[in-house]
Symmetry: C2
Subunit: 346 residues, 2 copies
């Protein structure tokens, strides 16, 4: 048994790869002095990677490079990628969970292709009908897990129940001290509101939550996502994607307006000097790089997708997410939670 | 022909009624010195209304009071309300579009009941399959019209096309100088993304937009709602409600975080003195009271719903919205736009 957490890094995925990817590894190692329990399998162009590794003075006890010859482009479609990408850094970083010793895969490359190849190579867990894409979302108390963020445009009640169990497992892996509190996103909090699918999922979750995997808080509306009363927010992939992007757009709109107001006059510009630390703290709290990393849930191995456009700091946060997922024993927690779905129904 | 714009006011609907409602009328009259073209039919408790009107010194040439005996409570359901509310301020303010001379109705009361009674009394326009709830949403350039915000949980392509034509008509009524630019909310901007319903609505709108009622911008994602490239955002009532409430929640979360940061230390508190006008401008720009008022579209008469919890300033903005809707000739614009749906298909 290998006691180290082994993260497979697709070093060639995303803007500015492999520079930000290797710098992200370096940042992680600097921030985690006691990193005896971590190891990186790095996939990509060996020459480029070696150059960056030596520039960042990463100890050669911390990694192994796997040379690959191609990169999955952003223009590649999932269909053609299965044929074209067998020698890519992405494909091999996923496959290393099967043919090598990687525990988890991290890529900032093409999302659609990553999802399809992951699903094909790692396979879906038997009792899960559809894998989902989960993300982190800030709330007033800490963070939410929100899923599905876009893997499945249409979902039935079985999918929503699976997502709840898997989301609760992810939450518990990341925040072991805390209780997962699941809520279904809806247009009202009363039991009779929303679609038939949501009503059926509500009844089923009410029943299942007695198994103790999570607390079920019922329906919540969009304006309650950030209050922290619930921390696992479950919805179909269409609604989840619209909600996430609308929140991102709103956040940008408001902070842009604030910037404009604060730089509109000489006096207001001058005042920023006095508010500097307060505004810095505000900016840091909402820094989207802290929430970088979406997790494919429902496959037999864990895969994390970093934003393609993030920088080394954002990539560092995704590495940290991978580390906590394995440390928190996500895969066994998912298995355990899913086993309760059928038990309770018996 | 009556040349005045006659607004029916449900004076008893919403928190703090009739005080905020009458004060809202007073604010409107103060801000619009040349108000020869406006008149209010006010529905509710005559004694209370008279007292408030004299307190605000509203000229008796500006209004007529219609005494009603009951108020629709927030607990009332649409089903029971049809039986119980015939003598209410809400019912009579709507019915005055039929039996009296009101051009438009404004209420801050129970949304579900208002929608059902409006639909029953005013009737749906023949060619419209489902009426929708439209709202205003700030964007970087000005404002969006967004619909449906929750009247219809499930929508087909015909509904989405109707919403586009009606939303474009509303936009043109409110902003006569500007061109309505319609977009369908989706999880990607490419033509092949999303549900079948969205793809069918996309083709139909591409065809119809040649009639010149609006420019069709195709699909947009949630993070583009506020950019101002499109100004009529169309979606089903489930997605629209989730998007709206998520945006509200995000805005509150961010401004709360900002407040906390700016008051966390003595220095930062002190700095607010210097940023006072800049922060005030920022706050004013995003003041939700400016966007108060959702419009029921698709009925034979226009009805505006004010937030129940807004104050006199918010109610004033809803009155202003009613005024601009009639001034902009919304009902004829809707009729004209809808006539193109079938024409183009021939």
């Amino acid at each position: 048994m290998n006691s180290k957490i082994i993260i497979a890094i697709d070093a060639m995925g995303g803007e500015n790869a492999p520079y930000k990817n290797i710098e992200g590894i370096s940042l992680f190692l600097k921030k985690n002095i006691k990193h005896e329990d971590i190891f990186f399998n790095i996939f990509g162009n060996e020459d480029l990677i070696k150059k960056e590794i030596s520039r960042h003075k990463i100890s050669n006890e911390m990694y192994k490079i796997f040379s690959t010859n191609t990169v999955v482009s952003d223009a590649e479609t999932p269909l053609t990628a299965i044929k074209n990408s067998k020698d890519s850094s992405m494909w091999n970083s996923i496959n290393s969970q099967i043919i090598s010793n990687s525990n988890i895969t991290l890529s900032a490359g093409n999302t659609g292709v990553l999802f399809v190849i992951s699903r094909m190579l790692l396979k879906t867990i038997e009792s899960v009908s559809k894998p989902a894409l989960a993300g982190l979302w800030p709330n007033e108390k800490n963070m939410n897990v929100v899923l599905d963020l876009g893997a499945n445009v249409e979902c039935d009640e079985k999918n929503l129940v699976d997502f709840s169990e898997m989301g609760a497992a992810l939450y518990k892996s990341l925040f072991p001290e805390d209780t997962p509190k699941v809520a279904l996103l809806n247009i009202g909090s009363e039991e009779m509101k929303g679609t038939d699918t949501l009503k059926k999922a509500f009844s089923k979750l009410k029943e299942i939550s007695t198994s103790g995997d999570f607390v079920f808080n019922g329906f919540i509306e969009g304006n309650k996502i950030t209050t922290g009363e619930s921390n696992v927010i479950v919805t179909d992939g269409f609604t989840g994607n619209i909600a996430l992007k609308t929140a991102e757009g709103t956040a940008k709109f408001i902070t842009d307006s604030l910037k404009k107001s604060l730089t509109s006059t000489l006096l207001s510009k001058f005042s920023i000097l006095f508010s500097f630390f307060a505004l810095k703290k505000f900016k840091e709290k909402l820094d989207p790089r802290k929430f970088n990393g979406a997790i494919f849930l429902g496959l037999k191995g864990p895969v994390v997708k970093s934003h393609g456009s993030t920088d080394a700091v954002g990539f560092y946060y995704s590495i940290d997410l991978c580390y906590r997922i394995i440390k928190g024993d996500l895969m066994n927690k998912i298995k355990n939670n899913l086993s309760h779905i059928n038990e309770v129904s018996k």
